[in-house]
Symmetry: C2
C-alpha cells in the first residue's frame, strides 16, 4: 500500500486550515481500527485553539509541533469501557496509526506525539483538559498541510525476520 | 481510505498458500510504521509449520485461528533496542495495524490475536520459541485467504469526539 510507505512524520506545517470533512474522515478512520473484543475504548479531543495548543506543546520534550499545527487531536483511552482489561493503549495505538494513514491519504501531514506511557505527560494533559479518572491521555496527533519533505525512514530489514524458529534467517 | 474501512477480522481461512511476496510485503508495511524516536524495536517470526501453529493456537482463549491460518506471524518487541523506554508495545501496535491493512490491500484476510499485556500468553510463547529475555511476544497476526465475510464493525461515533474541551460535543 503506497500510503503506508509514503507516510512521513511531519513537524512543520503551513498555516492553511484543515477542512472539517478531513478532520471527521481522520476520526472515522481511527474508529475503524480493530480493538480487543471490539471494545472501542477511545475518546478524541479536537483542538484548534492556539492558546490551548501552545499549552499542549509543553506536555513533553518532543511536543513542540502541537503549537504550530492547525489541528491537534488528543487521543485518550477510556478504561471504563474495557471488557478486555489493560488493552486500551494497544487499541489506541492502532487507532492512532489509522489516523496518520488517513491524513496521508488526504494529502495532510501528521505526526504522532507520544504521551502514554510517560506518567508526567499523561498527568499534565489530564490536568489541562480536566479529564475524569477513567480517561487516559494516550497521544497527540498534529495535522496540517506539510511545510517540509522529510526523507523516508521505513524500510524492510530482513535481519528482523525469522522463519519458523527465532533466529532462523532467510525464507 | 477504503482499505482502512474494508478491513475485517478474519478468523476462517481457505487452505490456499500465501505467496512469499505477499508475506514480505506485509512485513515491509510493518517496518514502515512510525516508532518512538524511530527506534524500530520489532522482531517478526513467520510460521507456516502446522504443528507449531497448533501450539501457538493454545496461547490464549482467543488464539484458535492460529491453528487454521496458513501463515501466522508472531510480532515481538525487542526492549534492548529501545532508546525511548517502554514504548515497544506502542510501536509494535502501529506495526501490527499496518500489517492488517497491507494484508487487506493484498486481498488477504487477517486477524490480530492479542498477546501483550497478558503475562501468561507472553510467557507461553516465550517458552515455545525459546526467546531471549529482551524479546517480548506482542501479538500474533493470522494471514490467509478469507473463508468468511463478516459485517463491518467500525463506524464514526460522534459521541466519542469532543471539540476544544473534553465533553464539548458537536463541531
Amino acid at each position: 500500500m503506497d500510503i503506508i510507505r509514503s507516510r512521513r512524520s511531519i513537524r512543520r506545517f503551513l498555516p492553511d486550515e484543515v477542512k472539517q470533512e478531513d478532520i471527521e474522515g481522520i476520526l472515522e478512520a481511527a474508529m475503524f481500527a480493530p480493538s480487543a473484543g471490539n471494545q472501542r475504548p477511545w475518546e478524541f479531543i479536537v483542538v484548534k485553539n492556539e492558546t490551548r495548543r501552545e499549552q499542549m506543546s509543553k506536555a513533553g520534550p518532543y511536543s513542540r509541533p502541537a503549537a504550530k499545527a492547525p489541528v491537534v487531536i488528543l487521543i485518550c483511552g477510556d478504561s471504563s469501557r474495557e471488557t478486555h482489561k489493560n488493552y486500551w493503549p494497544v487499541d489506541c495505538s492502532a487507532a492512532t496509526e489509522n489516523m496518520l494513514l488517513e491524513a496521508t491519504a488526504r494529502n495532510l501531514g501528521s505526526v504522532w506525539l507520544g504521551v502514554y506511557p510517560r506518567q508526567e505527560r499523561m498527568e499534565y494533559l489530564s490536568h489541562l483538559f480536566q479529564l475524569p479518572e477513567h480517561i487516559h491521555p494516550f497521544a497527540m496527533v498534529c495535522i496540517g498541510y506539510a511545510n517540509e519533505k522529510p526523507a523516508a525512514r521505513g524500510f524492510y530489514d530482513p535481519s528482523r525476520v525469522s522463519w519458523e524458529e527465532f533466529g532462523k534467517k532467510k525464507a
